[in-house]
Amino acid sequence: MRPTRPDGPKPFLVPVRDVYEEARFVVGRALELRDEGVPLNRIGVLYRAHSHSMVLQGELARRGIPYEVRSGLRFFEQAHVKDVLAYLRVVHNPYDEVAWRRVLLMIPGIGNMRAARIWERIRGSSDPLDELEEAGDFLPSYVLPSWRRFVEDVKALREAQSPGESVEIVLSSDYRDYLRTTYDDPESRLEDLYQLAVLAGQYGSVEEFLTQLVLLGELYGGDLRPDLRDPERLVLSSVHQAKGLEWWAVFVLRVVEGAFPSPMSLREDEGEEEERRAFYVATTRAQQELYLLYPITDYTPSGSAVLMGPSRFIRELDEDLYQVVRSEEMTG
């Protein structure tokens, strides 16, 4: 079989400063394309792992651009994300009953009865967070150590200076163990949550972060008005779920070592070949324009920058096969 479509431009390799610029580039270029007459639903964004879409989802939400996710639940609706947000919520608004229930039930040894009792003890207080330590004094001794650690975590959260730091505190708490013992595929969920910390780093305060996630995440009021759901939505998909689909323009995120090929599958026999096939899928979904994004730095949850190298799948390509563009050349 041969391709039947006339040649479009050569694929673009786009080195960007970091994952934020990656997201801004995709959004900026997608909006330009839309302006040129390509509707958003004919533009696809592909990535190797769901967590790679997180910062982009944050940027789309912030700018109110409708999108749909084909690689699972929308990020902010996933249980582990809501878990972490519940910690931020109880500290931001210590009367948030539903968030308290969620948080308390994650502590080992605390079930519905004990959670209800703790809530009863703190709810009437002028500052529930101050009452926390005493509120747990009825707990049996085998529960007390984890209770005390929880109280310490809450103390640390109260002193956190930024939403990014808050997420990081939750991630280094006992919540890690809860996540590992409760959910399937905990490592990729943990990866999601590191990305949540990166995303949170963009917001000035916990209140702003929480408000934006719930108000701007969707056309809100969209629940009241399903007819308003915009059919023109940018498509976000994992590479694997994109098999057999095509878009006018395709962006592939994180074409860097450590992300694509996936380090996990490299550990398996034939893993690299499997990944190379996935790369082939990713690069053959575009009808006209293909953008391979290559962020030069990534951030750890604590905010330090890590240098990244381009994917081996790019390095093994003949340089005549693509053109390198700087992101500022395309979007101002």
């Binding site: 109110g64 608004n93 948030d96 539903v98 719930v214 809100y220 009021g221 629940d223 009241l224 308003l228």
Partner: protein
């Protein structure tokens, strides 16, 4: 020639005569009815630009749209027309504007300013607790699911139709639970208040309460928003329309609402007819020379 003059001349050049008439209309209520594709968004955008070019302080303009995306797109177009001060316009959805106001006045309504906004899952969780408090064994009896209860309560609050009537009309097979649901409604309200939490509907209802129950607040904001513009007015529900009416009653009715086609009361979407004192002063024909 002054910069303002230049801006205004440019606006006039880029519009057809009908559009220009709407954009440059004097004070008072205006209803712009336009067919799809006739450039009504353009009218709102240019109207905002025109007002700023006329010297109206951008922060005294309230522009309500149906999606955040629409607000952002429109404001960036205004910015392209008259410059960066356009960013100071109060623009956004009803919920976003409501939230912005309520953060400052939550204490008047018994809330703290750091209230939580509940998403749909949170709302269902709260409602499940309220149902349990009513002593309903959810697994044993055929009781409406928390998700359905949420929808019924929300519909009732947005339309002003009491819960039993909503059940009778749309879910008659659950009518036997009408009394329980009314109690659940009360519990849900109390529970949210003591949790310092608002759902989406509260962002509208509490905004309306703020304007109704605190005349000094409605005076303040009625006067602040010298000009109010509402896009997609045909889709506003009763609550939203009342908010707009209240604000407009305090600013000398400087309000422009733009609607696609007048639509009658449709019960399915939580909308209701409303009375509007805005009178038609400009009508755009379908597919005029504007570009989309």
């Amino acid at each position: 020639m002054s910069l303002r003059r230049i801006h205004i001349d440019r606006l006039r050049r880029e519009l057809n005569p009908q559009q220009w008439a709407a954009v440059s209309a004097g004070p008072g209520p205006k209803l712009v009815i336009a067919g799809a594709g006739s450039g009504k968004t353009r009218v709102v955008t240019y109207r905002v630009a025109y007002l700023i070019a006329q010297g109206v302080d951008p922060s005294n303009i309230l522009m309500v749209t149906f999606t955040n995306k629409a607000a952002r797109e429109m404001l960036s177009r205004v910015e392209a027309l008259v410059g960066p001060e356009a960013r100071r316009v109060w623009g956004g959805t009803f919920h976003a504007v409501g939230n912005r106001l309520l953060r400052g006045y939550a204490h008047l309504l018994g809330y703290r300013p750091n209230y939580t906004i509940l998403d749909e899952e949170d709302q269902r969780d709260f409602i499940r607790l309220c149902i349990t408090d009513e002593g309903i064994p959810l697994k044993e009896v055929r009781f409406p699911s928390p998700a359905l209860v949420r929808d019924v309560l929300s519909f009732s609050r947005n339309t002003g139709i009491p819960v039993p009537e909503v059940l009778e009309r749309y879910h008659p097979y659950f009518l036997e639970w009408a009394e329980v649901l009314e109690r659940v409604e009360g519990r849900y309200r109390d529970r949210k208040l003591s949790a310092n939490a608002m759902d989406y509907d509260d962002l509208l209802l509490n905004w309306l309460r703020l304007l109704r129950e605190f005349p000094e607040v409605s005076e303040l904001y009625g006067r602040k928003f010298e000009h109010i513009l509402v896009d997609e007015y045909q889709d506003t529900n009763l609550l939203q329309a009342e908010i707009v009416e209240l604000l407009a009653s305090k600013n000398g009715r400087n309000i422009m609402v733009v609607a696609t086609t007048p639509r009658a009361y449709t019960p399915s979407g939580g909308r209701a007819t409303r009375t509007s004192s805005a009178s038609p002063s400009a009508t755009l024909g379908p597919r005029s020379s504007s570009s989309r």
